[in-house]
Amino acid sequence: MSFSEKGKLSGDDIHLTPLINDLDTGIWKYNFNTREVKWSTGFYTVLGYQFNEIECSVNTFFEHLLYHGDKPAFTNAINNRITDDTPPLQLRFLTKKNGYQWFETTIRKQDDENGSIVYGSLININRYKHNDLLSAHNQATHDDAFKTARLGIWEIDTQNINTIVLSKQVYELFDLQNHLNLSVEEFISFFEPPYRPVLQNAINNTINHSRPFDIDLLLRSAKNNMLWLKVKAVPVINHFGKCTAIKGIVQDIDNEKRKLLKLEQSINLLTDQNRRLQNFAYIVSHNLRSHTGNLQFMVNLFEQADAREEREEIFSHIKAISESLDGTIEHINEIVKIQTEITKERKVVELEPMFRTICSALKNNIEAINARVEWDFSQCREISYIPAYMESILQNLLTNSLKYSSPERQPIIKCYTLAEGNHIYLIFEDNGLGIDLERYGDKLFGMYKTFHNNSDAKGIGLFITRNQVEALGGNIKVDSTVNVGTKFTIRLV
């Protein structure tokens, strides 16, 4: 059966019949009243059959050709109201050689004197449908992969510089339920304050200089989760080399980053400990050896000396060496103490009572040079610190100021605290001899470095102080002018 035989095309339209039969498209027609079915030659062809190879009937259509699963969709479609806007149906039909394939058919309805007629055109869409399904599958695979990798994609168009397009994974990382459109500024504001300018500058640099970036930033998500993200981007450039868009990713690297930071911390700790060990070796190499060398020297001389006075003289030196040896071992002990006490718990230290105690312990030294010691701990009265460290720091700095006071004026020593931002500072100021920082600056806190011809200078106090301060994560700085005074600024926390 073909349209040419039983078709209702008539009059001027009759010449269209061969054209219809030439098409790679099947035309079908069904009359509800007569249950009559008509198929064009193309209908057989698209299904892989020769013309009239199969019987053109309702039965063939429903029982042999149309996939049973798609029957409800088809019957629903033809029985419902059909308009020009009714979308085509995608259905599976059994082809002669290739099994079930996807087809698309339009559906039209017409009521006239011959009854209610429904008709449509059928095309094979198997390849497109497969691609469609494949790409849907790929999309799902990608989505899973991105989800597993905790990886999101973002893009900024330089034409529309204030908005940023985010993939759904980004919203997930940011804990944003509804996928609101964010401005670049809002996007940046999800990162912790210190990282915002870093990201803004990186983005600006990419826009202005087509520079790619790769930075690790700390995010505070909408649910207040702190998360380390890697933010990476490359520019898209036009033929003139100008950046037209930025394509970037964000990835959750929280685990790795935190491990890395921990590792860095351990390395710093190890470096500190290693430095202390080196200092240890240094004391042994320089100081202990210097004393033992002298001791050997004096003992030898003692044996060679005959005169009584000579021997007494040499013996007095031996006594002095024994005292120095004791002092050096005391220094070693202090360095070991830095190591052992760092594991002790911090306690709240009240600064004023502690400083008063130290002052009274050094009363004789203070009075001997008629020094005036002033203090003001009103900005920070107490601090969580290792008490032994704090005591040692205060004592060392006070001793230092007393030792290097200027004989030309009344020594005035000031000790006070400052609270600035998140930090607490301890300041120690004097009007003493001062020190030429340009010459000695880097050595001031070194071990056994002395700068004045002062017989009781040991070069150990400031070394210990620096180590204690740094062991608790602070730092110490010095300002000084020769013959004007010295100011130590210690950032405690």
Binding site: H286, N294, F297, L301, H317
Partner: protein
Amino acid sequence: MIEERNPTNTWIVDDDSIYVYGLKKLISIKGINTNLSHFINGQEGINALKKANENQQLPDIILLDINMPVMDGWEFMNEFAKLKPQLGKNITVYIVTPSLDLNDIHRAKSIPEVADYIFKPVKISQLTEIFSQTQYQANERIRQYGT
């Protein structure tokens, strides 16, 4: 003997008073023919060198310590290298220190003006060798140039 008529000049630049005392004692016990001068740090040593250069009183030997207050041995060597072209005498500098630190030893060896690195405590044999060598050089000079 020539040696007795021409004692060498030895400068000790060292802040370790016990060592200096011992060295003086040892030199007198061994009867080494040298005039000893002592400076307690590098700065004093350099000042004295400048002055001695004018007065023709330059030393033959300098026994230099490394760790000293005010100006240490390294800084002294820097200053010494600057002064050297103006000095009217060939001065032999020995670094004498208790330091076994390899960094110190390498650093000392890298300074061309340093003749040798001697560990404290100084052995008597080392001391006599240093002085006899210098004495020999001084005598040679006198024999050749008559000064």
